[in-house]
């Protein structure tokens, strides 16, 4: 069964009777916005209607004006949020499968016009859909709008034909509300250009919804390919693959990530999305920013939320050949003496290194870098570089540099772990004993 949102007006009354006549089980829900003197009478009317139909009834009310002021929202937006909170709460409590509202083709035309004026792009221009999830209110219960194909006049005729009285919302004429200005002032003007403007806009919405459906398919498959996830406060993309996508698709993925991380966001500003899609480090929405690290692009509120993708040292640690050392977060470093045959083996990756044991000795210490510290990288004999420059060249993110583990022989850096051994300790033709170092995440 469904929760029917009933204000008492012609639309919601038609919804109620129409669904009841088509055999849908209903719970009648009324939210009293307390914004008009006759709101109490509206509530009483809906309660009586439900009782006359022997349908269960729930209601709630709130101080919309106070909530609006508190949260710096327009009165309309505050009313919307409180009303939906109530409806979804009622649906959850009653175990309802869905919420149904009486939005009509006229509401649709107004919605499309509103989005057109503010420049919302396809996600806005497509208007209201017959079935929507509003993750800000509930991740699973859908909102259904079975009357989107009806005009407002049709709902009134439906009521008249059944001799149903309905309430007339006195605030519908209040042009302080944008929607009412659109309805009573702008749409009649547009009708001078197209007498069928309402039908045209409702049709535009239906049309764009199907186009949006197609784009959504592309978005879904691109998301699978390019975005690893959006959870734990950050979303993560393969930077190269993201860059290779068409701009519109790039924006869509970023928008989806932002909406996943911030379900309460109603929409994401296009301009910010556009800059973000160009991989500029900007705030996208809801405090979410772009961070680029090597091959990965993150969307997160702060760098501190990003996953650590390298070992990080909190303290100095000893390591003896033949032993293993845990660096935290699952990273393990082992030092073993290698068989002479292994000498010529190419090292498979940065996670391994080979050093000359006669130069390093058998005891190492792992520690973090000191301020201004330098080392002599393998391949640059006689030349030392600042560790900080070295990290920058390798695109190691700032936040990972301070805790980056250095394997030291005595006090000298022998291996910047996972990155580069020092020239001085390298394996040469004269090397008699090799120490193999291996970093693994377990």
């Amino acid at each position: 069964f469904s929760v029917a949102a009933v204000s008492g007006g012609a639309d919601s009354l038609a919804l109620l009777y129409f669904l009841r006549e088509s055999g849908t089980s209903l719970l009648v829900a009324h939210f009293n916005h307390q914004l008009r003197p006759d709101s109490g009478a509206d509530e009483a009317f809906v309660r009586q209607t439900a009782a006359a139909l022997s349908l269960p009834f729930v209601r709630d009310s709130a101080d919309v004006a106070a909530f609006a002021a508190q949260n710096q929202l327009s009165l309309e937006e505050a009313a919307r949020q409180l009303r939906y909170r109530f409806l979804f709460r009622a649906a959850r409590q009653a175990g309802a499968a869905a919420i149904v509202t009486g939005h009509t083709a006229d509401d649709q035309a107004e919605t499309v016009l509103m989005h057109f004026l503010r420049g919302a792009g396809l996600p806005g221009l497509k208007g209201m859909t017959a079935r929507t999830l509003l993750p800000a209110f509930d991740p699973e219960i859908p909102l259904l709008r079975p009357l989107l194909g009806w005009t407002r006049a049709q709902t009134e005729n439906f009521c008249h034909a059944r001799g149903l009285n309905y309430r007339i919302d006195s605030s519908n004429r209040d042009t302080a509300y944008l929607r009412n200005r659109l309805r009573h002032q702008l749409l009649p003007l547009l009708a001078e250009y197209n007498p069928q403007i309402r039908q045209t806009l409702a049709k535009t919405a239906a049309l764009l919804q199907e186009e949006e459906e197609l784009l959504r398919e592309m978005e879904d498959s691109a998301w699978q390919r390019v975005a690893a996830r959006a959870e734990n406060g950050y979303a993560q993309f393969d930077r190269e693959q993201l860059s290779a996508l068409a701009p519109a698709l790039r924006r869509r993925l970023l928008r989806r990530a932002a909406l996943r991380l911030r379900p309460a966001l109603r929409d994401v500003d296009f301009e910010a999305l556009q800059r973000a899609a160009n991989l500029q480090p900007v705030e996208v929405a809801g405090g979410l920013k772009i961070f680029v690290e090597a091959d990965t692009l993150y969307l997160a509120e702060s760098e501190s939320l990003l996953p650590l993708n390298s070992p990080q040292l909190n303290a100095s640690l000893p390591l003896t050949v033949g032993q293993a050392c845990e660096l935290g977060r699952g990273w393990v470093l082992t030092a073993t003496e290698l068989a002479p045959a292994a000498l010529n083996l190419p090292l498979a990756d940065n996670f391994s290194a080979a050093l000359d044991a006669d130069r390093t000795g058998n005891r190492f210490r792992l520690r973090a870098a000191r301020r201004g510290e330098r080392f002599e990288p393998l391949g640059l004999p006689g030349k030392t570089v600042k560790l900080s420059d070295f990290f920058i060249n390798l695109k190691i993110p700032q936040r990972l540099r301070a805790g980056w583990p250095l394997l030291c022989a005595g006090d000298e850096i022998a291996w910047v772990v996972g990155l580069r051994p020092a020239e001085k300790f390298r394996v040469t033709e004269k090397t008699r004993r090799v120490i193999g170092l291996s970093l693994k995440k377990v």
Copy 2:
């Protein structure tokens, strides 16, 4: 080099100087619409400007009002068609690579608004693109709009900064033209709802163009999969695959086919497209209708344009075992006596049949069906069916039935070619000699 369309107004003058300053070679083209008393002065001004810049100049004029009346077009549409005909003709004659126009972001906003009011869907709402092909005028030379990012005020400032005079089109204030009403009446009203309405609409266009780009990619790949071709007066789709596509994609493919068959169409009506996408046999646009035949959906003006996809007989033809018979359009029917070993071979497809030679004899005749003729299909012993019902059951299109070849032994139907042998002549356990029949398209 490019053909620059120059009216003499600020937009096209800025275009001319801007392109010239950026080193583009230009041919200045002016179309005199002869709709205003000062149109001669405009033409003289553009001619002098070109001369002062030492640029080649071409011009033409036409009786726009007469052309509009003749072709039942609005004055605007008639002017547009004549102007573009002239520009593309000039480009072809001069061997130009492109045509450039001075459309600005303001024009874009007006275009988007116009399409919004008439309900054009994404292809209209996306506005003018920086590069467009107009197959109605030329299949290859593109129309470029380098100033779409400029506002009209910016073109005026550009001219002022260079001390350039420009012509002011007195008809710009004439509210008989829809575009002027939008510019001078409706847009100022919309600015009360969004002071940045022009920028917003231009932004919307840019946004939707990128979305459209994505959809175009999907459309391209679906076209490759589902549509065999659109040429020789008809387009052809795999019916099952077309039905399986999302409605928006189905509409796009039909629209593309219609525009390929009728390059002069400016757009295809959505409602008709929608009905056609639901595979209803309706007129889509430009006299094009939907025809469904078996597994194929055609878009064509008349059935007579559809490809013949079966052999068709014009006259009665003899066929003797051991010979081949040409049925026209590349279809060849051969009759051979089969080796006894072939008796148990399953027949691979409808294009082959095996008959009992002792019953048929060695001489056949191919002829078309007679009015009301019946035959006894293999598998229905003792039961005859009307050939017309048989064709209907097998979904053979009406237009192919009259000429469908029947292989007759004596005067009796032995094989409805490519469809079904007759029960009477079938191969049984007692058959001693088999005649193999094979239809091929070579």
